[in-house]
């Protein structure tokens, strides 16, 4: 039996666009309302109930409804006040008002983000062995904001896949491209970076096809799909859309940080201004500070001049990276390296030099704000950031007009302004790839190395100078920005020890210097004068304390396209025929005039002709609200997926979604205000018999909430939950010993203050150690895309609920709340505790059980059998510790009920 999606997708006149669907299903939805039917959703649901001989359940009571709606839309339980307000609201529109209020809550975005971030495989680390932290939380905040702002879903898709390609892309639109960047990244020493880039592109291809199309295109990576009409060629054509990006980081403007930085800059400027005044008086009798400065400055200048040479910066004409980093020529003739960060690399750069009698070259390595720690290197592993290792340098020359007449240049006598111990520039000439020049310890500053030519080089009509820079330290220690200059100064030529602009000012006769140059020279001197070391330390400390702008992972389209090949058997080492971007033939075709890029792909996904994206999306909403999709396999709409229970309803919802302008809140409101959703979730023996799996929706499903919300519920009931939104991910307490099982990496420093009690969506997600108490409750591992969470029910969950320190902490805080906020009599306290944990009043039996339990536990404490102060730990001994301890146990029991963690 072929599946309905493909059954409806023949290459015939029946090709089912949303518009065509609208015609198919409109007549059905127009059935009259009335009776049980509240909106068109019910028409379809009731119809299938009738066909299968079941009938609707009565509407759920108001206590159930208010908790259900809160858990579904916010992932949080209602407060006792909210429960009472809704239960006692006489307004016939009370329920609709409730839904509107919840959709307007900022916590709605957090709730929706939890599911979307599974699909986006969002995590705060790179994965694999090193599993280093990565900054991408601004993307998570973008998702939350987009849901809260009710961004139309088509825009939501376009910005995440191709926000950077939109005309005049805003910062937020670029941040959105973090969606694709969430692929894992292997930085283990010695990996072939290209291989893991391939894996990342495969991951992106699979993610896009699963999340938006509900297709298991991944099957076609190694061979054409066995069941669905997707070929391997089509797989790599789809892949080709995504295969032309540089993975870069960008700064995200943060007004608070900017303000703080400005304030510090002002202070630093004042200190710099003060420097001349802090210059000490001379050691000679009567020499004033000013005179001393003039004398030392002049002496220094003379000394620099003796080492300085006239350098001519060369303009790069051709430049390549062996391992696909992107080299960009900058206005100052330097080359900036961005994009892929291979473990090792070789840059080959050609220059035209018009100078005659070249005697030496100088390589300046320059800082850049885009580089880690400001550069000049790209190293981040085994480095504070910004280091590199230039293993070997080699040069050839040829006449510009006869570029084939290549001759080797012999380089000699390397010098540098700074080198780490044992890493002098001379090691870049020793023929060994495991030694070389490094500036480790002086990152963030410009440096230079000078290499003499054994014999001067001159060519009529200019010289074609080619450089080869091997960088073979295996941990990404490649150069991030560099500039090359030549000189014809007589040998020996050495590194001057000062930045190139200073060197050139020194060589400019004083009379010819501009006022600005003179000032620059003086400022530089003041910044290095040994007499001012103390002042420099103050300035350095202030610089070091400067807060940094948040950064986030984004995409950038490459200017030089990458070629996509069909990889034989899907294997990285077997590239075959080249292909260009394209979409599977079985789906709607691309607009003929559009350029074949990511933006076109994104627009194609949400075009009216695309039959899948809207269906797949509303199906996931349905899955979120009903615990099961209309297609029960949201990840697979293909022939191997399960059949939809209500195909026409799904089609109608998809049409409606598109018709509403992809209005997510409207779609959720539509579903949640249906009679189907408002039914009771009780399972009667008749329902058990007729529809055990609830396929026909004759009751509302009962579903255990998502992992994140389990902790959110406990924190919320206890009053501990922080309402703070956004920002870097936080590290709540981790069960002891959990870190011992992973590769040693960044420590798990437990958050303090309210960050300890943030919502689960903000928990730091470490891929090799996904938050253990969340994983116990089936959180998605976030390694690859996940559009459906499994729900298990295990003893480890019980151990977590019963014994985890955070659950105990919440139980204690909730006990405090009950004792402080409820009237002091036992029934009122019990009622309040029920309201906090379960959003309903207790029945008489429950009152009795709790009371009995309370007395039993009090007796234990009073008799000294148990120690209340150990259970109710507090800094200041409270008078009623026993009472609090007893209530802690009650609250713990309530939070441990199945009901507390279930949406029903």
């Amino acid at each position: 039996m072929s599946h309905y999606i493909f059954a409806r997708l023949p290459g015939s006149a029946l090709r089912c666009t949303l518009a065509a669907l609208a015609v198919c299903v409109a007549s059905r939805a127009d059935a009259p309302e009335g009776g049980w039917v509240r909106n068109p959703v019910d028409t379809f649901v009731l119809d299938s109930m009738r066909q299968h001989g079941v009938s609707p359940s009565p509407e759920a009571d108001r206590y159930t409804l208010v908790r259900r709606a809160h858990l579904d839309l916010l992932g949080l339980p209602p407060s006792p006040t909210e429960v009472e307000a809704f239960v006692n609201d006489p307004d016939p529109q009370a329920y609709d008002k409730l839904i509107d209020r919840l959709l307007a809550s900022p916590h709605y975005g957090e709730r929706m983000a939890v599911r979307w971030l599974d699909a986006a495989r969002y995590a705060d680390t790179n994965g694999y062995e090193k599993d280093r932290p990565r900054p991408v939380w601004p993307y998570r905040d973008w998702v939350i904001r987009a849901f809260n702002d009710n961004m139309p879903f088509d825009r939501f898709v376009i910005e995440q896949l191709a926000g950077d390609l939109l005309p005049g892309a805003t910062e937020a639109q670029r941040v959105a491209t973090g969606f694709l960047r969430n692929s894992m990244h292997n930085e283990e020493g010695g990996v072939d970076a290209e291989e893991f880039r391939y894996e990342a592109m495969v991951d992106r291809t699979n993610t896009v096809s699963t999340v938006f199309l509900g297709l298991t295109m991944a099957c076609a990576q190694c061979h054409s799909h066995k069941y669905d009409p997707l070929t391997q060629r089509e797989y790599f054509q789809f892949y080709a859309f995504l295969n032309n990006t540089d993975d870069v980081e960008m700064e995200v403007h943060d007004a608070a940080v900017a303000k703080e930085r400005d304030a510090l800059e002002t202070k630093i400027a004042a200190l710099v201004e003060e420097l001349p005044n802090r210059f000490p008086a001379g050691e000679m009798q009567g020499e004033t500070s000013a005179a001393h400065l003039v004398r030392k400055f002049a002496a220094w200048e003379g000394e620099v001049a003796s080492r300085a040479a006239h350098w001519t910066a060369l303009d790069p004409v051709e430049f390549t990276s062996k391992y696909h980093a992107t080299l960009v020529r900058m206005p100052d003739q330097s080359i900036l390296v961005k994009g892929d960060v291979p473990n090792t690399d070789t840059y080959e750069v050609s220059y035209r030099a018009n100078l005659a009698g070249i005697t030496a070259i100088r390589i300046e390595v320059l800082p850049d704000p885009s580089l880690p720690n400001g550069g000049p290197g790209r190293g981040v592993i085994m480095s504070p950031g910004g280091d590199f290792l230039l293993s070997e340098i080699a040069a050839t020359d040829a006449p510009w007009l006869q570029p084939d007449q290549v001759q080797q240049v012999t380089l000699q006598n390397a010098t540098e302004d700074f080198a780490a111990e044992g890493r002098a520039a001379q090691f870049a000439l020793d023929g060994k790839l495991d030694t070389g020049w490094s500036i480790k310890g002086q990152e963030g500053k410009p440096h230079a190395a000078v290499f003499e030519f054994a014999a001067p080089v001159t060519h009529e009509g200019g010289t074609l100078l080619r450089l080869k820079l091997d960088q073979y330290y295996v941990h990404q220690h490649t150069i991030g920005r560099f500039r090359v200059s030549v000189t014809s100064a007589p040998l020996p030529v050495k590194a001057s020890g000062v930045p190139s602009d200073i060197e050139s000012i020194v060589l400019t006769p004083q009379a010819e210097r501009s006022a600005e140059q003179s000032e620059q020279l003086k400022r530089y001197y003041l910044s290095i004068a040994p007499e001012l070391t103390e002042a420099h330390k103050e300035i350095e400390a202030m610089r070091a304390s400067m807060p940094r702008m948040p950064r986030t992972l984004v995409l950038e389209e490459r200017e030089t396209p990458r070629v996509t090949h069909i990889q034989h058997r899907g294997e990285f080492l077997q590239p075959r025929e080249a292909v260009t971007p394209g979409v599977p033939a079985v789906l709607n075709s691309l607009p003929a005039e559009a350029p074949p890029n990511r933006l076109t792909l994104a627009r194609w996904l949400v075009s009216e002709e695309n039959p899948l994206t809207a269906r797949v999306t509303v199906n996931r909403f349905w899955d979120m609200l009903f615990g099961r999709g209309i297609v029960p396999t949201p990840e697979d709409f293909g022939t191997r997926g399960e059949e939809p229970s209500h195909p026409e309803l799904l089609d109608w919802l998809a049409v409606e979604f598109e018709r509403s302008g992809w209005d997510v809140k409207a779609m959720l409101r539509l579903i949640m205000t249906s009679a189907a959703y408002r039914q009771s979730s009780r399972i009667t023996p008749e329902l058990l018999a007729s529809d055990p799996s609830n396929e026909w929706l004759a009751r509302c499903p009962r579903v255990r909430v998502e992992a994140e919300f389990i902790r959110d519920i406990a924190l919320s009931a206890s009053g501990l939950l922080s309402a703070k939104m956004g920002g870097p991910s936080v590290k709540p307490p981790l069960p002891e010993g959990a870190m011992s099982l992973v590769y040693p990496g960044d420590p798990w420093t437990v958050a303090e203050g309210e960050d300890r009690y943030r919502r689960g969506v903000y928990t730091y997600w470490k891929r090799t150690l996904p938050y253990p108490t969340a994983m116990v409750f089936d959180a998605a591992a976030r390694d690859t895309t996940c559009v459906r969470r499994i729900r298990s029910n295990t003893p480890l969950q019980a151990l977590t609920m019963l014994n985890d320190a955070q659950m105990m902490e919440a139980s204690r805080a909730m006990a405090q709340r009950v004792l402080q906020e409820a009237p002091a009599d036992m029934p009122s306290r019990i009622a309040y505790a029920f309201m906090l944990a379960l959003s309903r009043p207790p029945d008489a039996d429950e009152q009795t059980w709790i009371t009995d339990f309370y007395e039993q536990q009090r007796a234990r404490f009073d008799s000294g059998q148990s120690d209340a102060t150990v259970i109710f730990v507090t800094d200041t001994p409270a008078e009623d510790t026993t009472e609090r301890a007893a209530w802690t146990l009650i609250c713990r029991a309530l939070l441990n009920t199945d009901e507390a963690i279930t949406k029903q």
């Binding site: 894996e199 018999a689 099982l741």
Partner: protein, 478 residues
């Protein structure tokens, strides 16, 4: 409608659909009542870890997998290469290394002979290095494969590959597959337990993850000190009686809710809490070594109160005795890019005695016949020396996926057999290559599972531990 395999049905045991299909529709209160009676009733109903029959009868019922994370050097332990001595310090011939990819070393690196001597042991005459004196005493109980090969040459992907059949994250691990296929006989402990010492493993939790399977099949890390399982101890101040009272109250509330709502998922929850309560007793009991004789402790080299590989080996035996299906013992620290000789002395010192003791102990207790023991890392190490001034390395060996050694012992294994060989330099396999997928297929087979039939449907595809590969290695099977 039903395209699911039998195994997949077991997974659905945790959903109410399956519950009612298996238990018979209309059992109603009777079914619910029996569910509430605790242990007896909980054994089979609604329990995805209930023991399930194998595909075919097999000797091995359980498995202890000793995973040597970081990749031990086969050339210094198992694969003796006298010819390397002649070439020591000389560059490796270009025709051998062409087209090979390496993690750290350069192609023209010199060859390095082992610094250790080798000797033949036991009736089988298997050759072992002097670094493995204890294993030498039980060498007739093991089958050595000197020709294992993998396609991954970096730690994280290779470990994940060995454990899940794919270098990419997100697939179920071998332990998950085995417990999914066979369930577990352990009433009060998880079916798949992970123990670890040494440096952490590069693959992390993915090495014992359940991928797209339900979390019941995930490996549960046991710590050898403190609480064995995260959160297995009651919070401070809550003694057993108070915990029992609390469970009774929770049980009452849950049962009332079950009566009202009729959702069998609540019954499962009640059972989970009861099982959790039993684990609170069984886990400390497992960890309590006071019942072990001083001879046994000495045999393994266990120092009470100290976490060690030796202690984990002993715990592995205790777990097996309690019916746990899959015990994964990790020991990290074999990644000897520098000073391979010194590194091996340290790691063999930490593991050799206990490894041999585990085999002896299992044998003495009559458990070896029905327990499969597997030993190995994620790849091998190069015959070429690794040295790097930049990285501060000398006399090390780099990653070598082409050929490495593993061994197996116990249930169904042809003990005393040595399989496969490599060339004179130990670079390439010359006889009987055994791929990682073949190892996986063979392990499953020894446990009575046919690797092509053990499938799980996800994203429209029937996944296997062996992907679309894997051939049984009949030479290893008794």
């Amino acid at each position: 409608m039903n395209r699911h395999s039998q195994q997949q049905d077991a997974v659905h045991a945790i959903t109410r659909r399956h519950f009612f299909r298996d238990c018979g529709v209309g059992l109603g209160k009777i079914a619910l009542a029996s569910l509430l009676c605790g242990r007896a009733a909980s054994a089979n109903l609604n329990n995805p870890l209930a023991p399930r029959p194998a595909h075919f009868p097999a000797k091995a019922k359980r498995i202890i997998y000793l995973f040597m994370a970081g990749a031990p050097s086969q050339l210094d332990l198992f694969d003796n290469k006298p010819v390397l001595k002649q070439y020591d310090g000389k560059p490796i011939p270009e025709e051998i290394v062409k087209d090979q990819r390496y993690a750290f070393i350069q192609r023209d690196a010199a060859l390095m002979a082992s610094r250790f001597s080798f000797a033949k042991h036991g009736q089988s005459g298997a050759e072992l290095s002097e670094m493995l004196p204890h294993l030498a005493t039980v060498v007739d109980d093991i089958a050595i494969v000197r020709s294992v090969t993998t396609s991954q040459f970096n730690h994280a992907p290779a470990q994940i590959f060995m454990n899940t059949g794919s270098p990419q994250l997100g697939r179920p691990s071998m332990g998950a597959w085995v417990t999914y296929g066979l369930g577990s006989d352990a009433a009060d402990l998880p079916g798949f337990v992970v123990l670890a010492t040494g440096e952490g493993s590069s693959g992390g939790a993915n090495n014992w993850g359940c991928g797209f399977m339900p979390t019941v099949y995930q490996g549960v890390p046991f710590r050898s000190e403190g609480d064995a399982i995260l959160n297995v101890s009651s919070p401070q101040g809550i003694d057993a009686a108070m915990q029992r009272d609390s469970l009774d109250l929770i049980g009452k509330l849950n049962r009332r809710h079950l009566e009202v709502h009729g959702d069998p998922e609540i019954a499962t929850r009640i059972n989970s809490y009861e099982m959790a309560y039993r684990m609170q007793t069984s886990a400390p009991e497992l960890m309590d070594l006071s019942g072990e004789s001083p001879e046994t402790l000495a045999q393994y080299g266990v120092e009470p109160g100290k976490a060690s590989f030796a202690k984990n080996c002993l715990l592995a035996r205790r777990l097996i005795e309690r019916g746990v299906r899959f015990v994964n013992v990790y020991h990290g620290g074999w990644d000897h890019h520098s000073d391979v000789a010194g590194g091996l002395k340290a790691q063999c010192g930490a593991t050799d005695q206990a490894t041999a003791a585990l085999l002896t102990d299992l044998k003495q207790r009559g458990l070896l016949d029905e327990t499969l023991v597997v030993w190995g890392g994620e790849f091998g190490r190069t015959p070429m020396v690794e040295s790097s001034a930049a990285l501060g390395r000398s006399l090390g060996r780099d990653h070598h996926p082409q050929a490495f050694t593993m061994w197996m012992a116990g249930g169904g294994i042809k003990a005393g057999h040595t399989l496969g060989s490599t060339d004179d330099l130990g670079f390439n396999i010359t006889e009987r290559p055994v791929h990682v997928h073949d190892i996986q297929a063979t392990i499953l087979h020894l446990l009575g599972l046919e690797h092509t039939r053990l499938t799980y449907r996800f994203k429209g595809r029937d996944f296997r531990l062996t992907d679309v590969f894997g051939n049984l290695v009949p030479e290893l099977i008794a």
